[in-house]
């Protein structure tokens, strides 16, 4: 027993360990999942959107920057206008910053977040305003440049005209001079050619052409000036010099010219001054130099703005860096926290696994040890069974002569084998379930908790049984009475959850001391059921045999029993109920309906402990059982289409018909077929007596004297049913046991006489006599005294005996002993208007005679009637004769 127990416990502990590991793992998983989920959620809600927002801001700023570069690299207002709309960038900026503003408080404190947000917003404002200023500056620069370009274009045309004019003048001067030279070559004076104005003119014209060409170059140079200094240098030096020289040369030209040419030269001079004014006049806001200066100033301003914007962008970038650091820190914190969580979970899982491994290893070792024990036990069992086989083989030799013993032994062997399926529970002396219970017991009653009392364990749903058991067990444990005796007082069987179990008890000694009780529980449900079935079958068989032998008798029995049960149902008094029950018990016992009889007995027990009659439930249960038992034969029983005739009756009617007897006689004869023959009644009763005697282990010789009498159908119904009590009493109380009889020198078989006859003094009587002890008046007197009844005469004692509830027996059995039976018979007889007579003599026997007035029973004598019309009584040499008062004197 130890082996499986420890294997089980090891398995259980292993399972618990595994379960714990699983639980720990699941919990760890939950924990990790929760922690990681929280982290992830935070990452998803705050960190990632924040980083996204920062990236968005950076992208927007870079777009702004790119736009600035584009703005700065534009060449004119048209190109610039295409870049004017920066709403997309502003939208992206504000959207990203809004996102950041909502996510920042999730990562840092609210105040810190708002501070960072406001710093960011300020930087962003700076950047945007700087950008706007830059844009405007560039726009102004372009506007100025456009004006400059327009003016330059105009000036170029003017300059070209000027150059062309200068060249024309120079050409004319050149021609004049060449003509002068030709004149010199033709012999004229060279003085004019050398000192004259033509040469000066020609040279001045050449200079003017050169100067104007230079002026054109200077205009181009102005456009190329990249700084104000450079511009100033050009204006102050080259431009001023050029203008001065040109003016000088023009003046020279003009002063040396005359007429048309001089006029055209003066026009040229004016044109030049206009050009010079357009180029360099300080008071003209639109002058080329001032325009260029404005452009340069604007460019410088733009550069400055650009620098400022760059600084703003750098500021914004710094702010973004700070925020990004916060987001990165947050992400890193989340990651490291998640990592810590993971490592923690891994550690926990590892510990759980190690624990599981240790427990598993330990359990496996212990299981192996248990298995080793089991194996040893198995070997022992095998050797035992070998021995048993050997013994059996030895026994087989004796088979022939001792087959009966062998059968018994085989049965015992079967029982032994059956015991293998016994439930075994060790119980210590305090009633606690100790140690291991057998597997079967476990499967039946479940596992016990430590300290559970065995009665709580077994009879949890039956408090009364539990108490009984507890009381009995206390007695066992006290060990005062021999174990077998006290064990016999313990409950022997019980029903639990629809199963019937038998209980056995074994004393377990340890070191010669009473140590434990081994409670052996057997599931005898099947046995009980089979017994039940067997009993049912037996009852059925009995009923059927009665049906076949004496259908009428059975009908009477059934009718009578049903009447009694009906009466029982309405009977409220305890005594009356007991009487009715007793009658039913006796009748059903005689007809072999053991189950009904047994139930009646149980109900009598129940009634004995309380006042009042049966409860509806009880009487219903009785009826139900009754009808169940009767169900099979009832159909056969209730068919009353047939009238049975015996050979004698048949002969009688036949001869009557042949003799052509009186018609009314014949009618009466045929009617008599339905009358009840007392022979039949007596035979039935005698059979019952024999059965009772057999059941009680007594020999009874039953004689019948029916005197061919018949009684009116139904006349004795109520009474006859009760006769069984009397018959039972006669066998049980009257007849001695065979041993006693042998001592008294009486024949081994007791003599029971059953008789019906018509008394010479009138009246129909039924007698029942025995040759037994006779009435025990001493015991009757004691019983009467016990019930507080004072009786002196034997007559009075007999009368008391007729009352219900007086019995001389200590213990009621199913056969008799409740003191009810006799009372019931007497009551029935008297109810039918009859009287009772008793003759009794000690050691010689008792005779009961029930006398009915003839009118009430309508006795008929058969045709072959040899009715004994003997004298009244005299059968016994009676010392006491009792005759009950006849309430209705016979006529």
């Amino acid at each position: 027993v130890k082996g499986p127990r420890s294997i089980e416990s090891n398995l259980v502990s292993f399972g618990i360990a595994l379960g714990s590991v699983l639980v720990v793992l699941v919990l760890a998983l939950f924990g990790v999942e929760h922690a990681l989920g929280a982290r992830l959620e935070r990452m998803g809600n705050a960190t990632m959107p924040a980083q996204q927002a920062i990236a968005g801001l950076r992208y927007a700023v870079s777009r702004l920057f790119e736009r600035q570069v584009q703005v700065l690299s534009t060449h004119n207002e048209v190109e610039l206008a295409a870049l004017q709309d920066r709403r997309a960038i502003e939208g992206a900026l504000s959207q990203s910053r809004g996102l950041l503003a909502t996510t920042l408080p999730e990562m840092v404190g609210r105040s810190e977040a708002s501070a960072a947000s406001s710093r960011l917003a300020a930087s962003e404002r700076d950047v945007l305003s700087g950008d706007a200023l830059l844009f405007e500056s560039v726009l102004r620069g372009h506007a100025t440049q456009a004006q400059f370009d327009t003016r330059t274009a105009g000036l170029k045309t003017s300059l070209e005209h000027l150059i062309q004019d200068a060249r024309a003048v120079a050409g004319i001067a050149h021609l004049e001079y060449v003509l002068e030279l030709r004149r010199v070559a033709g012999g004229a004076s060279s003085e004019r050619a050398i000192y004259g104005s033509t040469r000066i003119q020609q040279e001045a014209a050449e200079q003017v052409v050169i100067c104007v060409l230079q002026l054109g170059q200077l205009v181009g140079k102005l456009d190329l000036a990249r700084s104000e200094d450079e511009l100033n240098s050009i204006v102050a030096n080259e431009l001023a010099q050029n203008l001065a020289r040109t003016r000088t040369q023009l003046r020279v030209l003009v002063t040396n010219l005359e007429g048309d040419v001089a006029r055209s030269e003066r026009a040229m001079q004016e044109q030049f001054e206009s050009v010079a004014f357009q180029i360099s006049a300080d008071r003209d806001a639109q002058s080329l130099v001032r325009l260029r200066r404005s452009t340069l100033v604007e460019a410088g301003h733009a550069a400055e703005l650009r620098g400022r914007t760059q600084k703003s962008v750098a500021d914004l970038s710094t702010q973004l860096d700070a925020v990004e650091r916060i987001a990165a820190d947050e992400a890193r914190t989340s990651m490291s926290s998640a990592q810590r969580t993971l490592w923690g979970a891994r550690g926990l899982s590892l510990i759980a696994l190690v624990a599981a491994l240790v427990v598993g290893f330990h359990s496996v070792r212990r299981m192996r040890a248990s298995l080793g024990g089991l194996r040893t036990q198995n070997e022992q069992l095998e050797s035992l069974s070998r021995d048993l086989r050997t013994m059996n083989e030895g026994l087989e030799g004796l088979v022939a002569e001792r087959s009966a013993a062998l059968v018994a032994r085989e049965r015992a062997m079967c029982l032994v084998l059956d015991a293998m399926s016994e439930g075994l529970i060790s119980v210590d002396l305090e009633g606690k379930v100790a140690g291991e219970s057998s597997k079967v017991a476990l499967s039946w009653f479940g596992r016990t908790q430590t300290g559970t009392r065995v009665w709580q364990h077994l009879f949890a749903d039956d408090e009364r049984l539990s108490q009984d058991f507890q009381v009995g067990y206390t007695q066992v444990a006290e060990d005062i009475l021999p174990f077998e005796v006290s064990a016999a007082c313990m409950p022997q069987r019980f029903v639990r959850a629809g199963r019937t179990y038998s209980l056995g008890y074994r004393q377990v000694m340890q070191e010669h001391r009473f140590h434990q009780v081994l409670v052996i529980v057997n599931d005898i449900t099947n046995q009980v059921e089979s017994e039940q079935r067997e009993r049912d079958a037996r009852e059925q068989h009995q009923l059927l045999s009665h049906l076949l032998n004496d259908k009428q008798g059975l009908q009477v029995f059934v009718r009578e029993s049903e009447r009694l049960m009906l009466a029982l149902r309405v009977e409220k008094g305890r005594e009356g109920a007991l009487r009715l029950l007793h009658t039913i018990k006796g009748n059903t016992a005689v007809f072999g309906m053991e189950s009904v009889s047994s139930l009646c007995h149980t109900l009598e027990d129940a009634l004995g402990e309380r006042a009042g009659g049966l409860t509806a439930v009880e009487s219903n249960a009785l009826s139900a059982l009754w009808y169940t038992r009767l169900a099979r034969v009832e159909e056969l029983l209730t068919s009353e289409e047939f009238v049975e005739l015996d050979e004698e009756e048949f002969g009688e009617i036949l001869s009557g018909l042949r003799q052509r007897r009186d018609y009314f006689e014949l009618v009466e004869l045929v009617q008599s077929w339905k009358w009840v023959k007392t022979s039949l009644l007596l035979r039935r009763l005698s059979a019952q007596v024999r059965r009772i005697a057999e059941a009680l282990g007594k020999n009874a010789d039953v004689r019948i004297e029916h005197n061919h009498l018949s009684v009116m159908p139904g006349a004795l119904d109520g009474f006859w049913g009760e006769m069984i009590h009397l018959a039972r009493n006669a066998v049980d109380h009257g007849l001695e046991s065979p041993e006693e009889r042998a001592q008294l020198g009486k024949p081994a078989a007791g003599d029971i006489v059953l008789c019906t006859k018509v008394l010479p003094r009138g009246g129909f009587c039924i007698e029942l006599g025995d040759d037994g002890r006779g009435l025990d008046f001493a015991a009757l007197r004691a019983a009467a005294a016990q019930r507080g009844l004072a009786a002196t005469s034997e007559i009075e004692l007999i009368e008391i005996m007729f009352r219900d509830g007086v019995t001389t027996r200590d213990e009621a059995t199913e056969i008799s002993g409740r003191g009810v039976g006799l009372g019931a018979v007497v009551a029935a007889c008297r109810a039918a208007g009859g009287s009772v007579e008793v003759e009794t003599a000690p050691g010689k026997g008792t005779l009961f005679r029930f006398v009915y007035p003839l009118q009430t029973v309508q006795v008929r004598e058969g045709t072959s009637s040899r009715a004994t019309r003997g004298g009244s009584g005299g059968r016994l040499d009676a010392q006491v004769a009792f005759s009950s008062p006849d309430p209705r004197p016979s006529p």
Partner: protein, 301 residues
């Protein structure tokens, strides 16, 4: 030109006027693969070696004209190369004429043509004095002035030169615009020479008969246009019923003999895209153009 080709889908350009315009047009037609046929210019840019695939000339070049002048002056009139002066427009047109003359002079063994007296005037101006000053310089004595210019400055130049005592043969290339020059010069037109790339309309050529019958106002410009039209239709005819620019070029270069009705029929090829290099010199006598062949017959006023 781009607009003509791209939006008007012109398949060939005929009779384009002017050298500077031609300078711009040639790369376009090469790019667009559209024939430029019979341009009204003798500039070298239309006469490359080998010729541009899509450029076809009907008339002789300025170089041909100035070469004819040099030939006539040196061979017929037996002038010394140093007796030749130049008056040219200060641009590609003027330079083309001058280059042709220099080349011709070099062909006659004169290596320092660059040093010959050479006056220039600015395009679209009448400022001819400076140029005239170069030719009136007492150190030089030109007996003939080869002029490559337009009629107004050329007329002013001739007038002013004669007024200031320069008596030489004034020889203009055809582009000067013969009728306009005649009109502008008035009484100073007598003796001014103009070389032509078409014969005088009164000459005895089959085409001229048709030209005269066309009732056009007789003139060298319209006659040149007439000839260009003839040449174009000849080539177009050779290009087949469904001419494309490519088919046109292939037909032109196929070696087919094209008879323009002036001189003998000509065949073009990949290396020859000009129908004519013939130059007809004319002189204004009493307000009329007169063809001449011997430059020695000319009288100097």
């Amino acid at each position: 030109v781009r607009k003509l080709i791209d939006t008007e889908h012109v398949r060939a350009i005929v009779g384009n006027v002017g050298t500077p315009t031609a300078v711009v047009t040639v790369p376009i037609v090469n790019e667009k693969k559209v024939p430029l046929f019979g341009a009204f210019t003798g500039a070298g840019v239309l006469r490359k070696t080998p010729p541009d695939r899509y450029v076809f000339n009907v008339r002789a070049s300025y170089a041909d004209e100035t070469a004819e002048m040099v030939r006539g002056l040196l061979e017929d009139r037996h002038l010394n190369p140093n007796d030749i002066g130049f008056f040219t427009q200060d641009d590609a047109y003027g330079d083309a004429g001058f280059a042709g003359a220099v080349k011709a002079l070099e062909a006659h063994g004169f290596k320092s043509a660059e040093n010959l007296p050479h006056g220039r005037y600015a395009r679209n101006t009448l400022d001819v004095e400076d140029g005239l000053a170069h030719l009136l310089d007492p150190r030089v004595h030109p007996k003939a002035v080869i002029m490559v210019g337009t009629y107004k400055p050329c007329a002013k130049f001739v007038t002013l030169a004669r007024k200031n005592g320069l008596h030489a043969i004034f020889a203009n290339v055809s582009f000067v615009g013969s009728a306009d020059l005649l009109k502008e010069l008035g009484k100073d037109a007598e003796g001014v020479v103009i070389t032509q790339v078409v014969p005088h309309w009164s000459a005895d050529f089959p085409i001229l008969k048709e030209y005269r019958e066309s009732r056009l106002e007789p003139g060298f410009v319209s006659l040149e246009g007439f000839l260009v039209g003839r040449a174009f239709t000849e080539v177009l005819r050779a290009a087949g019923p469904n001419p494309t620019p490519e088919l046109f070029v292939q037909a032109a270069e196929s070696g087919t003999q094209f008879d323009l009705g002036v001189g003998k029929p000509q065949a073009l090829s990949k290396t020859r895209h000009g129908f004519s290099s013939s130059v007809w010199p004319t002189v204004i006598v009493r307000g009329e153009f007169r063809a001449f062949s011997n430059w020695n017959e000319l009288k100097v006023r």
